[in-house]
Amino acid sequence: MMPYALSFFSDLFAYDFMLKALGAGIVLGIIAPLIGSIVVVRRLSFIADTLGHFSLVGVSFSLFLSSLEVSIFFDEPLFFGLIFSVVGGLLIEMFRRSYKSYKEISMVIVISLGTALAAVFFSKAKATGSLYTYLFGSILTVTNYYMYALLAVTLLVVLLFVLFGRQIIALSFDETSAKFLGINVNIFQIIFMVVLSVVVSIMLEAAGVLLISSMMIIPVAAGMKLGWSYRSTLGIAILFSELSVFFGLWAAYSLKIPSGATIVSVNILILLIVALIKRIVLKRQIAKLAKQNVPDEL
């Protein structure tokens, strides 16, 4: 296994598909925690999971259309995934407004609807071989279309943060006070939801439906353990995210495992190491403080 594992480095620059995978991974490694941090602050960590399930409706619908020999959007399930993810996002926002104190209800409704519809279309589609890819991710097989779409999504995310970053962060920390800043809360909620849905759909191929939320949330969770400010937390989260993309890609290529699984496994490993180190450091600090506070006469 060792020589095969090492061949990752030589193959990285030898094959076009490897470079594409690495490029896509690096970009996703930045935008996933960037959007993920907002999702975490807003206490909506399950939202990416919900949107992922709903974008699976698009993928299954695309496969269903292919089996009817109807060809739309260059036969790329990605584009259908994108449309359905946005529809799912808007549905969540709609239900969220009806159940204001029970935000999670909106996600249960949308995730159930998404899973049910996806099952219906998959059962009626003839070729469902790629289902495995969409469930667990396959960054090593991304197409040129995917790279163009990723570029467009990255520009969208950058534009969102450059134009409205402050408003979105302010709104995420405190929705009730946002109106005193002249922010139209409803419009910003919808803008963020649409961008989040688009990011989720673009992560579908790389991370897989079941692991998208992990790639968004876990690096942020690890960053929160070490960060002392919003910027530092985000910076640490992006660093962890990039590390997990790189080592995840390595493991996916060397061991022939879906990339979503390997990237997320590295993410969790980093989180565990960070949590363990933090615990040890805290324990030592407490012991040191206790020692300093012991009265002299004892």
Partner: protein, 222 residues
């Protein structure tokens, strides 16, 4: 900003909480709203801030009906126990204030407000590591950032100790001297040290006393 309230009533479902409340405040007034728990103080503030829709009675801000009013940037609001903020995610005081100072303020103005409130030293502290008193002043700083005409403080001394409460009242007095209209909700009965111009007493039976500060102090003395 002139605030006119005419015959305001509000109910949660069938439960009436406010019935027939009327008052007028002129720019620069300092109103203290007092009353026991359940007398409708917070409900009144929520009506004033547009969170509770006003269907019976009317509220006007500078003669503009609250239901069509959009210039909420003229208001600063500090809620009870600051519970609406999503804590735990690391964010420094400076970062927090910078995302909330969308217009008209810059870094030096932010630092000036923090200095005025006596919390310049914690500008780079993580908000999650602050004490109740420090947190309260950070939220007042946030409410002050966009230079509001009206500052509404809903029982902000509920979660802080006596010394910080004293400091808080001094701070509000000095903010009032800058010409801002203050509406302070409190269940604290000792109002002697406040520079108030008006007092609204709310009761559970939906009877209200609205009087000037002078009259209130005279009645208290008697």
């Amino acid at each position: 900003m002139q605030i006119d309230i005419h015959n305001l009533s509000f109910a949660y479902g069938h439960k009436s909480v406010i019935g027939g409340l009327s008052l007028t405040l002129n720019p620069g007034d300092y109103l203290v709203v007092r009353g026991k728990n359940g007398s409708g103080k917070t409900t009144f503030i929520k009506c004033l801030l547009g969170y509770n829709p006003v269907k019976t009675g009317m509220i006007f801000f500078d003669h503009e009906d609250i239901n069509t009013f959009t210039k909420w940037m003229k208001f600063g609001y500090v809620s009870q126990k600051f519970e609406d903020f999503n804590y735990d995610y690391p964010i420094t005081v400076n970062e927090m204030l910078s995302v909330y100072s969308l217009r008209r303020t810059n870094q030096s103005q932010r630092l000036k407000i923090l200095d005025q409130l006596g919390i310049l030293g914690i500008v780079n502290e993580n908000v999650n590591n602050l004490s109740g008193g420090q947190l309260q002043r950070v939220f007042i700083a946030r409410a002050m950032l966009n230079q509001p005409e009206v500052l509404i403080l809903d029982e902000p001394t509920a979660s802080i100790d006596k010394m910080n409460t004293e400091y808080f009242y001094q701070t509000v007095n000095s903010l009032h001297q800058t010409g801002i209209t203050i509406i302070l909700v409190t269940h604290n009965s000792d109002l002697g040290r406040l520079d108030l111009t008006h007092v609204l007493t709310m009761r559970q039976d939906m009877t209200y006393d609205f009087m000037t500060g002078d009259k209130f102090h005279t009645e208290e003395a008697e």
